[in-house]
């Protein structure tokens, strides 16, 4: 037991040290996903939880909402400032900042194709918090820290060299049906 914990946390910490870019380049991710039902997003091993349909559905007008609004479909579990309003894009951190090495994941329905996508919310790090950008606090499928990979009340810059929180991107990393 003890060995397992040591191994796991040791491995996880080591994973966390790897760069997001290196992980993202791994071509084996999708097959890994299919095999284990887990997602490696920027270095952390995260559970892929089925979208909780207990509560209501997406608003009808979601398709018309642009990506600079908190109502945009990808932002269904985002808690932070939009990087695309701070010099970045939907998936790019603003120049000079760093992408977080670890991230949390949401499951959001794309109103155009009706499919549920896994969205990695990477924080961008090492720059002053970008309060110039819209602050969004949506929480579909969000869980407290006991399901860390689904938790958005922590600073996901935690594993970076510079932990200052700047803003958040929303990156499509998988399909969940």
């Amino acid at each position: 037991m003890f060995n397992l914990i040591d191994k796991l946390t040791g491995w996880m910490d080591k994973m966390a040290e790897g760069s997001a870019r290196r992980m993202a380049l791994s071509t084996g991710r999708r097959s890994f996903l299919a095999k284990t039902g887990t997602v490696i997003v920027g270095g952390a091993l995260l559970p892929v939880l089925p979208f909780d349909r207990t509560f209501g559905a997406m608003p009808a007008q979601a398709a018309e909402v642009d990506e600079f609004s908190c109502e945009y479909w990808r932002y269904c579990a985002l808690d932070g400032n939009l990087c695309n309003s701070c010099g970045g894009t939907l998936t790019q951190c603003p120049p000079g900042s760093e992408a977080s090495k670890v991230s949390w994941v949401g499951t959001c329905k794309n109103p155009v194709d009706g499919k549920d996508y896994l969205v990695s919310y990477n924080d961008c790090c090492g720059r002053t918090e970008c309060d110039n950008a819209p602050f969004c606090n949506t929480n579909q499928g969000e869980r407290p820290g006991y399901r860390m990979g689904l938790h958005n009340d922590v600073n996901w810059c935690m594993a970076n060299a510079s932990v200052g929180y700047h803003c958040t991107v929303a990156v499509l990393v998988g399909l969940a049906e």
């Binding site: 909780d52 969000e142 006991y146 399901r147 600073n155 594993a159 932990v163 200052g164």
Partner: protein
């Protein structure tokens, strides 16, 4: 060589003499107030993510601000049961938002508002929104427990008197710190729906853990990490409004009872916010933040009502309309006072009417700054 050929001392010398009255005027002297005003306090942690947060101390009776204690960024606060000592865990980056991060545990003298000491923690402490379950004192008051996330979860155990780190306990997949009654240690909520009971040795340096049976379903109806103790039990509430009554005193955490807050109520009401509930043990009443039309993702919405719920009778005593309260705390009194904070910078004080099911009446407000999500009070 600097050669100044003119005199231009401005503020230093170029003074036009003023006629000074030779009357009884006695100059005042600037000084520093020695201690805060006496009387019971409300503590609010004003968190910042790009600079210094602060621990604000208000008078319970009129919300007069008694002073601020300084912290770093992304921190948590902790108040001793006697209200005389406070702690904060926070981050100090070399360049505030970049560069090496020094995570510090500060110890404060509440009466004098001084920094009594500081200790450097292992650089793993969770940089999280304010939650009281992330920085805790052991029930004997000797140890401080710090929630870590790297994102792997663990707990740093520090000496409450010195701040010195004694050990780091891995708590993989578990979160929150709930001090065990009558012994050293804490429980934590785990991602599989169990609780882990971590017993810490007398010297604080070793620990053992024991899992409970399943307590809740984290997929179907997860619980908030906010806890409240009453009558020897610990209470949690789920996203859908199920109240859990737990026994923390055994080797493992055991479920004693459950109750549905919203049974028979129309409108899709559910609990929501951050520090979303508080129990007045004198009267056995839970005050809880509720919002209507609940759906997946609405669990952090601010309250549109605060409900007073009788824990013994298991029924809602009153429902009071409020504006955007996202965290609250209630005084321990026969006629409780509720203090609630908004996300946009207000602290509200509500008196309650025992004859009307402890319905809330606005009775004062004050200005807050930053992200004020944790409140505490000592009578």
């Amino acid at each position: 060589m600097l050669k100044l050929t003119h005199v231009a001392f401005g503020a230093l010398l170029a003074a036009a003499p003023a006629a000074l009255a030779e009357d009884a005027f006695k100059p005042e002297q600037v000084s520093v107030k020695e201690t805060i005003d006496p009387g019971p306090n409300v503590f609010v942690y004003q968190q910042e993510w790009r600079g210094a947060g602060s621990l604000a101390i208000f008078a319970q009776d009129n919300l007069k601000l008694k002073g601020l204690l300084p912290t770093g960024s992304m921190g948590q606060m902790l108040i001793a049961p006697d209200g005389k000592t406070a702690w904060a865990q926070s981050s100090y980056l070399k360049r505030i938002v970049y560069g090496p991060n020094e995570q510090v545990l500060q110890t404060f003298d509440v009466d004098k508002l001084t920094v009594k000491g500081e200790a450097i923690l292992p650089p793993k402490a969770a940089m999280a929104l304010g939650y009281s379950a992330l920085l805790r004192l052991s029930s004997d008051g000797k140890l401080i427990f710090v929630q870590n996330a790297t994102p792997a979860a663990s707990v740093t155990v520090a000496d409450a008197a010195t701040g010195a780190t004694l050990q780091e306990i891995p708590t993989p997949g578990c979160w929150g710190i709930y001090p065990l009654p009558g012994k050293s240690g804490f429980a934590a909520i785990c991602g599989d729906g169990t609780f882990s009971t971590v017993t810490v040795s007398a010297d604080g340096k070793t620990a053992s853990a024991e899992a409970s049976a399943p307590i809740f379903n984290p997929d179907a109806d997860p619980i908030f990490i906010e806890d409240e103790s009453y009558d020897g039990a610990l209470y949690f509430v789920s996203y859908k409004g199920v109240l859990l009554k737990l026994d923390m005193s055994g080797k493992t955490v055991a479920k004693l009872d459950t109750a549905e807050l919203t049974t028979g109520v129309e409108g899709g009401w559910a609990p929501g916010g951050y520090q979303l509930m508080s129990i007045d043990p004198k009267i056995g009443v839970l005050f809880i933040q509720m919002h209507p039309d609940a759906k997946d993702g609405s669990h952090k919405l601010a309250a549109q009502e605060i409900w007073a719920y009788d824990l013994k009778a298991k029924k809602v005593l009153s429902r009071s309309k409020v504006s955007d309260i996202s965290s609250l705390v209630v005084s321990k009194s026969d006629k409780p006072v509720v203090f609630g904070s908004t996300e946009v910078g207000k602290l509200f004080r509500f008196e309650t009417d025992p004859a009307a099911g402890y319905a809330l009446k606005p009775a004062g407000e004050a200005t807050l700054t930053g992200f004020p999500r944790t409140l505490d009070l000592v009578e």
